[in-house]
């Protein structure tokens, strides 16, 4: 896969809610090769402030355009939100290794295959997409790619859990539903959906015996009331895909281990070059430091050392 630097024309730029914005860039060169979980780095202004590029996940891509979903959190994103359609942005991408959704189980076994978009055999396993806040950004692209597979059962097999601080920060519900995904929401303050952390919601879904939940596979085998399944994935292949803040990903990693469900997690780290040259963006793994921008941003949960 080739990494390119291009001047991408801003097709549209708008606020969607609160501090959240979407920008669409015309960049056929980058868009055509982009895979879910990959990102781009953007030079927001020509001068020295802000100096460095900013990394953003690819939220959506078709053959010609890239869409970015972002939150205004500082100077760079504030300037980005003021950009007008018609102007150009200097973009490098597609960057990093994305989600592996071709043969998801291989990741857990450490055999990482290059994912191919919309191709290959249908996956009859269950896929759980877990987003914490802004972490939803790369997961929509993933869901879009997952549902365009040939098998019709696939749609029903995608559960999306969206976690946010409050209901104003819940993003992309409509988009996921339109794809046919089952969507469940959690908010820290309970203003929408489950009250609590999205990872707590995930735990409940994995262990509950309530047949009304989508997540019925916990019934496999014969469990007594209140009994916890030891291996909830028995009989069905399940994979968790998650993106969000570090503490959430740590919780995902624990869940993955405890319930023996392979998980792929997308990490963030401060980046200077975003192409693997500066060694600035490392994360501790069982095989030593790895670069989030190059070997990541998506890693198998069981390879990351959280501390």
């Amino acid at each position: 896969m080739k990494i390119l630097q291009c001047k991408a024309k801003i097709v549209s730029s708008r606020r969607i809610q609160g501090d959240y914005y979407k920008i669409v860039l015309a960049s056929p060169e980058i868009a055509a090769g982009a895979l879910p979980g990959q990102f781009i780095s953007v030079k927001i202004d020509g001068d020295y402030q802000p100096l460095l590029r900013r990394p953003f996940s690819i939220h959506r891509a078709n053959k010609r355009e890239l869409e970015i979903l972002y939150a205004v959190v500082g100077e760079g994103t504030r300037l980005l939100s003021q950009k007008k359609p018609g102007k150009h942005l200097d973009v490098i991408g597609p960057l990093g290794n994305g989600f592996d959704y071709e043969r998801p189980l291989d990741v857990a076994r450490g055999r990482r295959s290059t994912p191919r978009r919309c191709s290959g055999q249908a996956n009859d396993g269950r896929l759980i997409l877990v987003a914490g806040g802004m972490g939803v950004a790369p997961l929509l692209f993933l869901a879009e790619q997952l549902v365009c597979r040939p098998s019709s059962v696939v749609r029903k097999n995608i559960l999306v859990l969206l976690g946010a601080k409050n209901k104003k920060e819940v993003l992309c519900v409509k988009e996921f539903k339109k794809l046919g995904c089952e969507v469940k929401i959690s908010t820290d303050n309970g203003s929408m959906g489950f009250k609590g952390k999205v990872t707590d919601l995930l735990k409940i879904l994995l262990t509950t015996n309530d047949p009304s939940t989508w997540f019925d596979f916990a019934h496999h085998g014969s469990l007594g009331a209140g009994e916890r399944p030891l291996d909830v994935t028995r009989g069905r292949r399940t994979t968790i895909y998650a993106c969000g803040p570090r503490p959430m990903l740590r919780a995902i990693s624990h869940i993955s281990l405890k319930y023996n469900i392979p998980a792929q997690i997308s990490l963030e780290e401060h980046m200077s070059c975003a192409i693997g040259a500066c060694m600035g963006c490392v994360v501790g793994t069982l095989q030593g430091f790895k670069r989030v921008c190059k070997e990541g941003p998506v890693f198998a949960a069981d390879e990351i050392i959280f501390w």
Partner: protein
Amino acid sequence: MSPRLNIKIGRLELKNPVMVASGTFGYGEEFKGLLDLKKLGAIVTKTITLNPRQGNPAPRTCETPAGMLNSIGLENPGLEKFITEKLPVLNKTGVPVIVSIASEGGREEFVELAAGLDRLKEVAAVELNISCPNIIHGNKARAKLIAQDAQATYETVKAVRKVTRKTLITKLSPNVTDISEIALAAERGGSDALSLINTLVGMSIDVKTRKPKIAVATGGLSGPAVRPIAVRMVWEVYKQVKIPIIGMGGIMDTASALEFILAGASAISVGTANFVNPKAAIEIIAGIKEYLIKNKISDIRRLIGSLKI
């Protein structure tokens, strides 16, 4: 007629005076496809040590006003792996490879590294990184860098000089009171050229968390913010030494590269700018050429140190 851009650093002939700085260009491979590597005057590798180094914990970098801090801690694969895995790839570019070396301990490691590289024809020159601020961190601040001590600089350069016929470049630290004194010591020790500047030790704090933005507290400042200091230091050193100077520190474009050449640098190195615009070095080569044509200067060497004062 096209102006003459080639220059000589020690015994090393460069087709143009624009290189990429150590630690900002990896071992070249990451930039493949993002720029025409063949056009570069030289590539300076990420500093290597004798043994592999893990480097420092993250976060290792943060942005600062018109600059950035880094404390990578010299993560590198070590000499052996560098020679077998990185050097062949670098060599394919056809561009002179300047290998930056550092020691985790004493002078002996520099000697061993230089001796190990001396027999390799793929190595065009060796740069002694005696100025990395990131091996010693915050809490051990009283430990001194070699480049902060004229005598130690002299002895290190002299010891390395004995074991290598390669062009020897010494990279100086701006974290000193008088950089000329160190520059003279390196020249006396037998260095063929000087690289300056390495990064300035700095610190940045997140007031929300009350934590330093860099995991090991302090880091090296680079980028446009340091440029005036770097230009001043090149100018000071130029007035004192006879050996060529490779100037760097916040070079972002042609104009900033020219500042260094006017102040006395024979060549320049592009660092942080590679992160911002991978094509920066290539654009600077074209820009310098254009400047020479416009000003009817037939040879870059006539521009070196031509500051009007």
